[in-house]
Chain length 122, copies 2
């Protein structure tokens, strides 16, 4: 656990958002200006692998990193792009029951229009 890795982890843990590697890199630079982008990517990969954080892959967008590793879902507003958490709702069981296939895991991104954008639309 180097100070760079600790710094990256602290940034993710203290963020309310799901940050991209680039965002994490810029925040890290504020604190340790010598930090390299490669170091950020390397540590994000390692920590995701070790399941200390979770990597979120979004279609046609940079990966984001989630401090919460316990199960929950993600939903993205098609208007403003805001990404929010949704409590887990046992999707794995439902899918296994419906398909009869043993699911090891899944990646899910839900799309909607958030309340703020709905107001603007109306």
């Amino acid at each position: 656990m180097t100070k760079q890795r600790q710094l990256i982890l602290d940034i993710i843990r203290s963020s309310t958002d799901h940050m991209t590697a680039e965002e994490i890199f810029f925040e890290a630079k504020q604190i340790q200006s010598s930090i390299a982008v490669g170091t950020v990517y390397r540590n994000l990969g390692l920590m995701a692998e070790a399941e200390e954080i979770k990597r979120l892959s979004m279609p046609n967008a940079p990966d984001r990193f989630d401090k919460t590793t316990r199960p929950h879902e993600h939903i993205i507003c098609e208007h403003c792009g805001k990404l929010s958490d949704l409590p887990a709702f046992n999707l794995k069981d439902y899918i296994e029951k419906q398909t009869g296939v043993e699911i090891l895991g899944y990646d899910l991104n839900l799309r909607y229009v958030c309340d703020d954008c709905k107001k603007i639309e109306a």
Copy 2:
């Protein structure tokens, strides 16, 4: 409808697989060697937009293109990487019931171990 666009569409429609842009490009080259990679990407984007085909975004992998636009799911073997179709099972309704949120759409990738790989493992 140019001959390039028709060619790309024919390749997708006649494939059993979910091809990447690169794979489509190479197949197209066999038939029209002058075709440019930019043309392939441009047409794939336009046809996905027009919902003549469907773009599949997989984590850490190039996009794939699906001739089938009617609802169904995708499942990937963690061992051999084989991507298969799964019949639709009303996931949107289930999610809307569970979350109380109106879902416009979703991207889902399921992970499992396919039968062939299970045999090899055992």
